[in-house]
Symmetry: C2
Subunit: 483 residues, 2 copies
């Protein structure tokens, strides 16, 4: 499907010139997506869908390890369900698409295309849960959801997206809160260890929490333009949905009680994060753990010496695949090595392995790191140990580089003026004291378009005064512009 | 989530009394599904969703082995797209749900919730394919689809269901036809080897083919009530969608040509087949390859001797899990062994492993087959070889039993009277000659509600005359009532 285009790297707008343009250039040129004819809906092309599959495998393993099982609930949700939790309906109503006709008839009750499934799942849990012996219920669903957003951006904010939504019900608040935190930790480990994206754990302010939640917790990542991206959320829903949907159980003491529920999710917007945290002016750069192709082998050299080189490259390919590494070879001879170098850099393959006639003579290859551009000669006999170790190093270094970037773009503001200057001139995350009032949060937004990201569990400093009103700060809050 | 109910096996209607009732009893009592509040939409509970996950893993491996990649296309399809292929719109229009409002506004163009994605994917392929070098395009999508059916039946015919749909584009008819057949073969192997369900490969008659296809091929399975179930279809679409959506490429000879496309799919209706082919009056019976739990270990015996028995059972559990077998233990002591026996038979676990104090003394266990009820004593020291071998035997025997059932319920009819008598009195598949006219096909349906299932590639006999009009038969056709 890729069109050959020898100059395509030149077509990417540099990040420094226009980060948004750079992003849109990269996702199309790296063949990750295409726009569909339906407003705000994109096509996930194989290269991006494979990244999502890798994320699914990794997370699904963690969900199952912690006792969750997968299930699947209906796409359509009756309108009346949204009325049962007041904040929920207010939060989601403006974004819902409605099915009003089906099978040739007008429907008696409109059906929403699910934006999230607390209501449908709440309704089902009410049928399934009767006694304390039925608890906890620990389910997860991999699904598509739809939110009719005003402004859309591929991967980050699309009308339809793919995600997982976990929904659990518990006998006690303690258990439900422990579950909420457990899942936030699982997300944190996944995003940091697998995607090599450092995140900040914390609690959302009331104005930013999930519609219907008691408490929302998030992990927040910084993109290379200094904006924040919410990479995952875990909600403690208390008894809000249990009361709305009448999810009750008979406890050991023979009392009828409402359950406590949680929900938690990550979505394909993580693909956007992956691109914007690791990408550069040459295109995508994928951490080895998530890369579908970890090593691309490219035989080089003149036509006349090609055969033994390609044969040796093929042997290396087989040997490395035998080790379980994800390796491919591009031995096409109608495309130049230079074009291939650009192509696989653009697509973010972590390591390029070059081998030419002279390398073959010396029984060595050249390894080139996508993240740093660093080259090294490695004897063929040592590849089996050198490559896995280099992949580990790259995974580690990419995480550290992203962490350093975040540290270099983290600030502390004492007042609105400082806040505005950091947000507008420096771009990044700004820690500030907050008195806890909605007004002061809004004042920050009005001043510089930054919103509260979260109240970190482990703030690097503890500001004493509110950044807006100067009253004693109740919390340290990270502010940033966000996707 | 399971409610304890010591008498539940008694609550299943026997198959011989009312097969439909039996089916509905089993799927609820084996905890596979629940009805949702939305018409014709069901909840896939973990026990059924896990079977679907096993199917996905197995098929996905085959798709990838044959060069296909996964992608994801939008759920919503603009109304105008359905107009571009005439037969397609006529076939699907009556079943479509329509989104007419979204984000608070009435939409300018109605959006269908996808019943299948030929149109959307056709539209995208037209953008992606320009040259012969872009071909073939070999994509697959795992997705939910919606068809607003008049009568619904859990798993078999639900308003929303889960499936995969492969969509490929080729430069030549030969290549596209080869792909169509390759995928039919992959489905056949999967359904026969993995689900232990024998199928008949063949071509659909024009009246039964996919709306928009040139030729539709299917695999058809017989259920225990003698009805047919279409287990998978593979369509050769010719240039119908290529012309409707303008999918053209520049060939080596510099000519602009339309591509040839295929599509193929299997869905969660296979879960219904699995239940109705292998299930019996004791409930579900799962082939070992698809069973999430292949062996359930149940320690038995009086309370006082329980501890060493449970310990020994735990050791066996670890040992077998170490072999990669999917084994669980139920050591609850507030539930009787008899209840557990019923429960795991109901849920279809292929092998029950019982161990009691006397077994422990003799260093042996009892293995009980779900499919035949057969018991055998096996020394603990031989379990590592005996169990994998018994699982293979069960998988093989279940397939053979289903095949024998099909042979016992296959007939040949010379005329409508015989056809009607076989269909109504014997129930099953009836092979008959067919002249090729729609009228004669309809005459069979009018006479006994049987429809043509397919024109088998390899018919057991070659009838000479049409079952209705008596003219020379063009084809041997399998007729049956169907789901
Ligand atoms: Zn304040
Ligand atoms: Zn005829």
């Amino acid at each position: 499907m890729a069109k050959e285009n020898k100059a395509f790297v030149k077509e990417i707008t540099p990040q420094s010139e226009d980060f948004s343009r750079w992003y849109l250039d990269v996702i199309q040129k790296a063949d990750l997506m295409d726009y569909s004819p339906v407003r705000g809906c994109i096509v996930f092309k194989p290269d991006s869908y494979e990244i999502w599959e890798a994320c699914q495998r990794e997370l699904d393993k963690e969900f199952k390890r912690t006792g969750h099982r997968n299930a699947y609930f209906p796409l359509f949700i009756p309108e009346s369900f949204f009325q049962k939790e007041k904040e929920h309906v207010e939060g989601f109503n403006p974004e819902l698409p409605w099915v009003t006709e089906a099978g040739g008839d007008k429907l008696e009750e409109r059906l929403a295309v699910r934006p999230t499934s607390e209501t449908m799942i709440g309704h089902m849990y009410a049928q399934w849960i009767q006694s304390y012996r039925d608890l906890p219920v620990l389910l997860n669903q991999w699904a598509n959801v739809v939110r009719w957003e005003k402004r859309t951006l591929p991967f980050l904010r699309t009308s339809e997206f793919l995600w997982q939504e976990g929904h659990t019900a518990h006998a006690t608040e303690d258990e439900a809160r422990a579950e909420t935190m457990q899942m936030l930790d699982i997300y944190t480990r996944f995003v940091e260890d697998f995607l090599a994206i450092p995140v900040i754990q914390g609690q959302k302010t009331p104005s930013e929490k999930f519609a219907g939640a008691v408490d929302t917790y998030s992990i927040e990542a910084i993109m290379k333009d200094g904006k924040a991206l919410q990479a995952g959320t875990s909600h403690y829903l208390g008894q809000n949905f249990a009361k709305g949907f009448d999810i009750q159980y008979l406890d050991k003491d023979n009392q009828l009680k409402h359950v406590y529920t949680t929900s938690w999710g990550i979505s394909t917007r993580l693909l956007g994060a992956l691109i914007m945290v690791h990408g550069d002016d040459r295109g995508l750069s994928l951490p080895p753990k998530v890369a579908t192709t970890q090593v691309i082998i490219i035989p080089i050299g003149p036509q006349k010496s090609r055969e033994p080189v390609v044969e040796a490259a093929g042997n290396i390919l087989n040997q490395l695949q035998g080790l379980g590494l994800r390796v491919r070879m591009d031995a096409r001879d109608d495309v130049s090595p230079g074009w291939k170098f650009n192509e696989y850099e653009m697509r973010g393959v972590p390591i390029r392995l070059e081998i030419g006639p002279r390398d073959l003579e010396n029984q060595q290859v050249v390894l080139v790191r996508r993240d740093t551009g660093e080259k090294q000669f490695v004897p063929i006999s040592e590849l089996e140990t050198a490559l896995p170790s280099l992949l580990d190093t790259i995974q580690h270094d990419m995480f550290e580089a992203a962490k350093t970037f975040r540290e270099d773009h983290s600030y502390t503001a004492e007042n609105l003026e400082e806040m505005t200057s950091y947000i507008n001139d420096k771009r990044g995350f700004v820690l500030a004291g907050w008195c806890g009032s909605d007004e002061c949060e809004r004042a920050v937004k009005d001043a510089c378009s930054a919103t509260s990201r979260n109240i970190p569990f482990d703030p690097p400093a503890q500001p004493t005064n509110c950044v807006n009103c100067g009253k004693p700060a109740k919390h340290a809050v990270w502010f940033a512009k966000s996707y």
